[in-house]
Structures are given as C-alpha cells and as structure tokens.
C-alpha cells in the first residue's frame, strides 16, 4: 500500500500550518465569517445546522489500522465518539469546534490523513473500486492510478477554482463497483488489443438536480497519457464551462449541451496542443507508485478452506453472513469480507470510535493491514484468509458490525439529511431506520434478495437516489417533509436513472410504500429475478398499483 514519503508528508504539514494560520486570523477577528468561508470550505470545514462539520478524505477508500485508530481518536476526542462514512470515501464529523480544527488536522496529518479538497470547486477526493488489489477481474490495481491522480490534483494551481466541484472515479474491472457512470470523470482501465493498458474515459455523468450518465468521450487512452488528457478535459471545462448559473455549472451540463462528440473534439484539440511530456508522469514515477501497491504477504493456500466450510454447516447465521458479506478473492484461499455499517435501526454509514478500533484490530490481524471504505457507505476487509472468516465474523458481531445484509434491502444508502445538513429539505436517516426495522429479520431480507434503496434529503442527491432500485428523495411541501419515490435506478454496469413512481408521500407513508413495493415484487417475480429485473420486465404499473391503490 502506498505510504506517504517525506514529500507527501511535508505537503500535509504545510497545508495544516496554512490552515492553522487562517483559523487564527478568523478567531482573532482579523477576517469576517464571510471572508473565512471560502478558506475553510477549501479544507472540508462546513458550517451546518448545529455545528461545524469536518469532511476528512480517505483517498480511494484505503484505510490502515493506524488511520482507523486516528479517526477513532479524533472522533472520540473532538466529536461525539462516532463518524459518518459517506458514499465518496470520506468520513464526516458533525460536531466540530472551529478552535479544534487545526489540532485535528495536525493529528490526521501524522498518519497521512487530511481534509484537502473535500469541498470547494476543485478536484475532489478520489474514489476507486474498493476491491482494487483483490478483484479477480481487474487488469491492474486501480489504486495506482487513483494515487497518480491524487498527487496531480492536489493543490493544482490551474484547477482550484473550477465552475463547480469535480469528482473522478477509477476502476480497473469490467464490473463497476465505483459508480463511474455518475461521475464527472469515470475511468475504466482495460488492456487494449496490443496488451497495452488504456483507459476508457467517461465524462459528464452526475446526479443532483439533473442526473446524467456519463458518455464515453474516448475509448482508448494510453494509460501513460492519463494526466495530460485529464488536464485537457479540466482546461476545457475551466475555460468554457458555465459559470452563470450554479445549477448548470457542472461539467455534465456542458457535455450535454455541446454533445459528447463535440466536447470530445474540444478536448482532443486542447490535448493536441499540450506538451504531454511535461504533464505525464515519467515511467520511473509510475513504477514507484505501482511498486507501493504490489501485493505483499499473501500465503499459498488451498482454494477451499475446511474450517470455513465446517463453520457454514455448523451455524446457519454464519452461513448467511458468508452468503452476503464474503466475496471471492483473486488469491486462492482468501476472501473479501464486507463490514456492514447498516445494522437496522442505526444510522447508515455511522461508525463509533470503538467500532473503528475493532476494525483496525481485525485489519491488522487478519487482512494484511488493510481496510476499505466502499461506495455503499460500508467498510471492507479486503484480504482475509477463508480459514479466518469465522473468527472475523465473531469479532464483528461482538462489535455490533456483523449484519449479514450487504446488497440487501436493509443495506440502505442515506445522506445525513435534515438531521444535520443545512441544505436538506427533509430527513433521510429516520426514513432509512423505519424501512430497515421492517426488514430487520435477516431471513426476510434474504428472501427479498438484492435490492438497493438510496435516500437523499434534497435534490443535491448525496444519497444517490437517482440510481437506487428504489430511490427516495425528500422534498419540502409547504413546510412538511414529503418523499418522491423512483424505481429502476442502478449505478453499476447497467446504470440507469430511476423513473418516478407517482405523487410524493408523507414521511409516515414511506416505509409502508416500500413494503408495498416489495409485496408487488414478491408477487410478480419470476424465478431468479432480482427486484430490478422484475421492474425492468414488468414496468412501473404493478408497483404503482401496489402503492397508490388505496388512493383511487
């Protein structure tokens, strides 16, 4: 795994010192809150409904025991003993005091963590396939390229005042676990006909008020030219993207208005004029970063583990955990183990300091010192021996983290909503809790099968409701919280934006509506169909009927 060298560490130290000086100017009254706002926003510090929120970056979701323990320490010392993992490889602390922020950043920097570019109209924290380095279908480790981009994007002098924020996701697999079609830039690494690594480049995806799936603007970009090509895309956007209207300022609007082909031509023209050698990393630097991610410490094991199989036979609860939370690893005898942050009744994505420490211990002992943060607001132990999975499960259960529900109806994505966020129109967390409680019986959730529910408390779509099989959007109707439901969204390879089910529902009707939708699915489904498959085959009608029948 990439460890920050002296240069990387000094970048963090210099940034922390700069922010400390800026905070001192604010606390001393030398600058107003209005002047301070753009400064703190460049460092992930938001003023929310009740307090400051600090958004800490976890670049491409990669966590070590030391980083987890530091996050736990910071959450316990400066917040209320828990943090909120987001869909974008960030940890949010929602009860921060301004005077503590510089100390927090110093402590985070000591383990290579920071809040650089977690807000502001700049290139935001990078995300990547959480299975990178463990996925059987990857052509390379996506983290190598995410780290390449991270360094290039950090304090980029030209691209720190873009028309709007800018998000990049990287995968090196055909199976998309990083939602690359809903990103400003989505990158998929492949090997081309000649065996060379090349990126498929998607630009202009995004959610929010107007959701778009990003079109491909270049099928094959030689991987070594990644940075010069990114510069060309960002320069085209920085110069010609809309700045007249906040709601039309994302690159997705520019791409949609120009058309993908015309946008691609504009990028190619800029790229042709670019001195690529000045921008692209030399091979030695690529090799240095790549070497840092080289697999280390894997043992040679038989593909089948007698202990794992015996545990499944002996304990149906473990067998259920194995069915939903344990995934095949590219190295024989190893598995990926999902750690659910979605225990029914709890806040999706929340993790206490004690739980972070428990995961740190498990990562250290059983997962070659690694953990990951996934797009679904869960954590992942990427390199666990099958032999050890039963023990890991017992430890997770003891920490309240053993919910066997990955990809099931209770594995709900939800933004912080009106409980915390100044932008929200409605609460998201209590809706998620209501729904999850109704399906808290693991046997019921398992019978319903794969079904992702995504909830956003406002149109900004942090909960990615557009791409949920069931999407729920909170809106304000004359001062009351209402919820619009969409069906059929997906963020994977078959990405799609959900279709509206019908009139918005009041808060107390949402969980029942979900039950009705599930009821319709169970009646309609044909053998082997997931919820989304039934929807795609049968359309909206049976679902609409199930939810709104009483209204007729």
């Amino acid at each position: 795994m990439y460890r920050y060298d002296d240069i990387d560490q000094q970048m963090l130290a210099d940034r922390a010192a700069e922010f400390r000086a800026q905070c001192q100017r604010r606390l001393a009254g030398d600058i107003s809150e209005e002047q301070f706002k753009p400064i703190r926003l460049m460092n992930g510090l938001y003023l929310q409904l009740h307090a400051y929120m600090l958004r800490i970056a976890i670049p491409y979701g990669s966590l070590t025991p030391a980083k987890l323990r530091m996050l736990a320490h910071v959450a316990r010392t400066y917040d209320r003993g828990y943090g909120h993992f987001t869909t974008r490889c960030n940890l949010q602390l929602h009860w921060i005091k301004l005077r503590d922020a510089p100390d927090i950043l110093d402590q985070l920097a000591s383990v290579g963590l920071h809040a650089i570019q977690t807000s502001g109209n700049c290139i935001r924290n990078l995300t990547a396939d959480p299975w990178a380095g463990a996925a059987a279908d990857e052509v390379d480790d996506a983290r190598v390229w995410a780290e390449v981009i991270r360094q290039w994007a950090t304090f980029h002098p030209e691209f720190s005042f873009l028309p709007r924020k800018f998000k990049i996701a990287v995968t090196a697999s055909e199976t998309d676990r990083a939602a690359i079609r809903v990103y400003d830039i989505g990158l998929r690494l492949r090997r081309d006909d000649t065996g060379e690594l090349a990126f498929q480049v998607l630009v202009g995806g995004g959610l929010g008020r107007t959701p778009y799936l990003g079109p491909v603007i270049r099928e094959r970009l030689p991987a070594r030219h990644l940075l010069s090509y990114l510069q060309a895309v960002l320069r085209a956007y920085n110069r010609f993207g809309r700045r007249d209207n906040l709601w039309k300022a994302r690159i997705k609007v520019m791409v949609a208005q120009l058309g993908a082909e015309a946008f691609a031509r504009q990028v190619e023209e800029e790229w042709e004029k670019t001195d690529k050698a000045a921008v692209d990393l030399p091979d030695e630097e690529l090799a240095r970063i790549r070497a840092a991610f080289a697999p280390i410490g894997f043992a040679t094991l038989p593909p089948r583990s007698a202990a794992f199989e015996a545990a499944k036979r002996a304990d149906p609860a473990f067998a259920r955990f194995a069915r939903h939370n344990v995934k095949p690893h590219k190295i024989p005898g190893y598995a990926l183990v999902d750690v659910s942050l979605k225990t029914p009744g709890e806040t999706p994505g929340d993790c206490s300091s004690a739980q972070m420490e428990a995961i740190a211990d498990l990562a250290e002992r059983y997962s070659l010192g690694e953990a990951r943060n996934t797009y679904q607001q869960n954590l992942l132990l990427p390199h666990v021996r099958l032999d050890d999975v039963p023990e890991v499960w017992r430890a997770l259960k003891a920490a309240g983290l053993g919910e066997p529900n990955i990809g099931l109806i209770t594995d709900i994505i939800a933004c912080p909503g009106l409980d915390y966020c100044a932008l929200a129109n409605a609460r998201a967390i209590p809706i998620a809790q209501d729904i999850a409680r109704r399906f808290a019986d693991p046997a019921l959730a398992e019978d319903v099968g794969p079904l992702d529910i995504k909830i956003s408390g406002c149109i900004n779509a942090c909960g990615h409701h557009h791409v949920g099989a069931i999407g729920i959007l909170g809106v304000d109707k004359k001062g009351e919280e209402y919820y619009q439901v969409t069906l059929g969204g997906a963020a994977d390879d078959a990405a799609a934006v959900g279709q509206s089910l019908g009139p918005a529902l009041s808060a107390d009707k949402v969980a029942q509506a979900v039950e009705d939708l599930v009821g319709a699915y169970l009646r309609e489904r044909q053998s082997g169909e997931r919820f989304i498959d039934t929807f795609r085959r049968a359309g909206l009608a049976p679902f609409k009927e199930a939810v709104y029948a009483d209204a007729h």
Partner: protein
Amino acid sequence: MPTLIRWREARAVLEEDPFTAVGDADPMPPGDVIISVKRFQAEGEQLLGEGRAVGVRVEAEESVEALAYDLPRLSLVALAFPKFKDGRAFSAARILRERLGFGGEVRAVGDVLLEQAKFMIRCGFDAFEPADGTGPAEWTAAGRRFRHVYQRASDGREPAFVERARAIVLYTGDHAEPARGRRRKTPEEAREGALAHGFGPAHRFPMALGGADAQGPI
C-alpha cells in the same frame, strides 16, 4: 503613483506602478497605459507608435489566444478576476506563458485575494493588485509556504516526481530510503532548493519593458 505587488526572485515586493488603467470611455492620459482588447485593436498602433508601453486587459470571457499576434508588442497582459471564485484567468495565464511564450508581465486584476497567491504565482502571474488590502509580507509567506509541488506549471518549479527521481529514492513498498551515497535533503534545503532552482528562469520571465456555503453534495 499607485503601487502593486510584484513577484521577483521568490518574494513579493511593493513597487510603483508606471501604468494607468484606462477604460474604454476615458480620455487617453499620457504615459504607459492598460487598455481593453477592443481599444487596443482600435488605438494600439498609434499608442505604440508614440513610444508608450502598452498593456492589454483581458476579461475572463475573452480568449488570450486572440492576442497571440500582438503579444511581442505588449508590455503586460492584465487578466481579470471578476470574482474570487472565477478561475478562468488561471488557464489564461498558463496558456500565455507555456503555449504563447509571453515573457512580459502577467498581472492579476479584479477580485484578487491573498488566498489565490500560491496558485497565481504557479500559473505565471508576476504582478498583483490585491483587493483585500494584503501586502508583500503576506504574499511572500503565501507564495513560499509549500515546500513541494506535485505538478509542473508556469513557474518552473520542480515537481515532486522530479525531486524523487533526482534523489534516486529506492521505494520498497514500505520504506523510502535514499540510495547509498546519497543524502536526503533537509526540509530547509528542499525549500531553498526548490525556490532557488525553480522561480523565474530568465528565458521565461524576462522583465517587462519598464519593468450554499457553496457546500453541498459530498
């Protein structure tokens, strides 16, 4: 005479500004002037013929490429920041320096704040009219705060990947160790080295003639 901040040899200095900014409707004063692209197109020949130094102010929505033909005759290009958040001039400055080879003064005008200093200097700006009352001491500190940079830009600073290649750091995956016989630079040496080595190479910076919360989705 009004003053402005100039970036010279890795520090900000306060200097007198010999130029007068002249609006399109203003009467033409004597001496060196900064005028709009439109006015330059109409009156540039005459002004240059009078032996004046002439600068052109380029608005954020205007293209610097349109000036390419005239650049050798211009003493300075002033790039406008209509708002602090409007970053188009950063691209314009890099294109002027790196693509069009402009060696005259590139001046930041408009909503120019200290917080942009480190980015502006990197993009090739070398003169600033701060709108926030900040002075040379603050601009020097802001321009020198970061010991390293990750990418090449217009300031000639050596990016991290070049520093690393020079130090021949052997990377084993867990430990970064200097190769035998080489010593890692101390932070102080690194800072001085970067600043001394990088800023203002003569071929690129000959002195000019005369001188929601926007917060939101994660």
